[in-house]
């Protein structure tokens, strides 16, 4: 497959700041999502499912949980002698690039990029939830003879820094690009998945560095729009960008819709994740579950509605959980009541407590907190 000629590069700290509570002790890529996954699983699985065998993961800060999750890359079949998974941390303390500076991040890993033999490079973020067929993207890129192809989505602009919004011709060729324009209209924005020749990226990043750049978006893409053939390729199927705690909550909940699940968990392109070897879900005699996603290792003796439960969550007798996202090993005690709550790993809600947030403002309970 031609995708073998593509190097994957994932930026694991992409927009950490937009869900600062969840990323206080982890990267965006290792934020738990949809029960048993971490956000990076979607991008990484999309890459390997189209035949890419070499993937670099740029880790900037807070990446212990990311390394724990990725390990040797085995669940994605990236634990190999030839190619495989490369985690790319900063070289020394203070070397980390501040505030999501992509140009600095790319220049820091330029040795890795240059020494790879692949002809193309596909750069991805981790706050985008999708399951894309990158083979299609690659074919589009080569058929239309593009220099750069950027995956886009149509909708309101996510509230993120440096969002690129495109004005395109009918064939997808970019006429102009605006960075975070003020508009309430639906626009075509970049989900920061970008394909180009590796040699072009090396040159563009090199140029940016030598001419005191501002940002990747301005100095690498916007500045070169007129000189290069830049094309947009709309993401097909489910594609959402996390830009806040609220959107994190909403996008999790969207997976309760069977059509979206069928698309995201496409059987042709399975989403892989670290294996935990939990036992299957146990439902007790008094359990009542409705419209929820439940992961392995959960023990349910209470009531769960409209919620997403990660692996190893326990819901005790009489407890009621509604509109919640409960992460790994959360414990909910007898007769506790939760509504619109996001709990982080191993949170403990002691018996008889009542906690509630609102759908528009879910309350977050940190890792290991006991209430």
């Amino acid at each position: 497959m031609r995708a073998k000629n593509v190097l994957g590069l994932i930026y694991s700290n992409s927009h950490d700041e937009c869900i600062s509570e969840l990323t206080a002790r982890r990267t965006m890529g290792s934020v738990p999502f949809s029960g048993r996954y971490r956000l990076i699983d979607f991008t990484l699985s999309s890459l390997v499912n189209c035949g890419i065998t070499k993937v670099g993961v740029i880790a900037n800060s807070n990446f212990r949980s990311l390394m724990d999750h990725l390990g040797s890359g085995r669940p994605w079949d990236l634990s190999r002698k030839r190619d495989g998974l490369f985690i790319l941390p900063p070289f020394k303390a203070g070397d980390a690039d501040k505030g999501g500076d992509r140009v600095a991040a790319l220049s820091r890993v330029m040795d890795f990029i240059s020494s790879s033999s692949e002809e193309y490079i596909l750069i991805c973020d981790t706050n985008t939830v999708y399951n894309m067929d990158f083979t299609e993207l690659f074919e589009y890129h080569t058929e239309i003879n593009a220099d750069i192809t950027i995956v886009t989505n149509v909708g309101k602009i996510p509230r993120l820094k440096n969002m690129m919004v495109f004005d395109c011709e009918s064939d997808g060729k970019v006429k102009s690009v605006a960075i975070n324009p003020k508009t309430e209209q639906d626009v075509k924005y970049s989900v920061n998945t970008i394909l180009m020749r590796k040699s072009l990226l090396e040159r563009l990043v090199g140029d940016a560095i030598s001419y005191s750049y501002e940002s990747f978006e301005k100095s690498v893409i916007q500045k070169n729009i007129s000189k290069l053939n830049v094309y947009c390729c709309n993401a097909r199927g489910f594609c959402k960008m996390i830009d806040s705690k609220e959107s994190y909550f909403d996008i999790n909940m969207e997976l309760l819709n069977p059509d979206i699940r069928a698309d995201l968990f496409n059987k042709e392109r399975p989403v892989f994740t670290k294996i935990r070897n939990d036992m299957p879900v146990q439902y007790g005699l008094l359990s009542s579950v409705s419209n929820s996603l439940i992961s392995d290792g959960c023990i349910i003796d209470g009531t769960v509605e409209n919620s997403v439960l990660a692996r190893g969550v326990r819901i005790s007798k009489g407890a009621v959980v509604k509109d919640c996202i409960l992460m790994q090993d959360t414990f909910v005690g007898d007769d506790a009541e939760l509504q619109c709550i996001i709990t982080d790993k191993s949170a403990i809600i002691t018996p008889h407590k009542t906690l509630s947030g609102a759908k528009t403002y879910p309350i977050y309970i940190g890792k290991g907190i006991i209430i």
């Binding site: 309760l256 968990f265 036992m279 299957p280 439902y283 996603l293």
Partner: protein
Amino acid sequence: MPKKTECIAMLLAGGQGSRLGVLTNNIAKPAVPYGGKYRIIDFTLSNCVNSGIYTVGILTQYQPLELNNYIGNGQPWDLDRSQGGVHILSPYQQIKGTEWYKGTANAIYQNINFIERYSPKYVAVLSGDHIYKMNYAKMLQYHKEKDAACTIAMLEVPWEEASRFGLMFTDDDGTITDFEEKPKNPRSNKASMGVYMFTWEKLRQYLIDDEADENSSNDFGKDVIPAMHNAGERMYAYPFSGYWKDVGTIDSLWEANLDLLNPKANIDLSDSSWKIYGRSPASPPQYVSKDAALQNSIVAQGCEIEGSIEYSVLFSDVVVEKGAVVDYSIVMPGSTVKKGAVVQYAIVAENTVIGENSVVGESPQSIGNLDDWGVAVVGNGVKVGKKAKVKAKSMISADVKEGDIV
């Protein structure tokens, strides 16, 4: 040359398991799914690695494709190692001819060369078709303390069931004084679990002698163990307490699955200190819709549940549509129970389709004579047509047409 290993395990997984009927038409018994996400062999393999035994030979003979494929390089059990690891040992051609494994003892005998590569002091001989959690390291410790030639794990079973087992008689210090194979009137309730620890030097000699004996049936229980006993070797019973089940029959497989739903059965799979490992499918979390009702059941990932489930075990990627009912049943991976269908007191194998408004299995209460009742079994890939009926005790391996009663 592999380095010297103190103890290695030889896992007998060659049996056909003919009493499991259609469930083992295409797969060996140890590869039969159990408990929502496991295969029977996962228990013995996980026991090995949890006990620190990282060199395991798996003896296969009957329909090994699925089992070999499942074991693969042993990675799910951490048995993909540069020293030791898991090895599939099938019968092979030798200069003096080709021989199938004639019996359990012959299977080990044919692999003496494999065992000798590791120069072990001790060899554990295990069955691949039992459900139990056991620390073989403690058994080995006991074996060493007693300076035994052979130690056999022993479980006290209820007296009324004792006649189904190979029984042992022991001294106060655990020395085995006598054996009795499935007696009509049991005088002991100490059953052999089919878990053996041998001092290799001794076992090796007995295997060679057994092979030379033309009258031998080359079986551990029938030949080698009695020979060792008759020769006055030091043989001890290692007392085990806890859950143990031989899942050799449809009824025992069904019961062993439902035991997971019984808190009194003492089989806890959520214990993180003794995990049972297995190969996991890449399926998303299970979805339970607003129309679903789930009571006292175990459901694996990838399932989509819109019907009503009680006292049942559902494996990965099972779909239960609206209005469908699954009671007291085992449904294996990838099967679909269509709208309005009823599955009760049944084992439904992998990738089957249970058609709309069909009925599989019958409850014991609905049948007058309990002798006519039994678990219904639907074999791999079978399609049960709309409004068809599969009676109690039926075992089907071919599709059932719309409206038929079998």
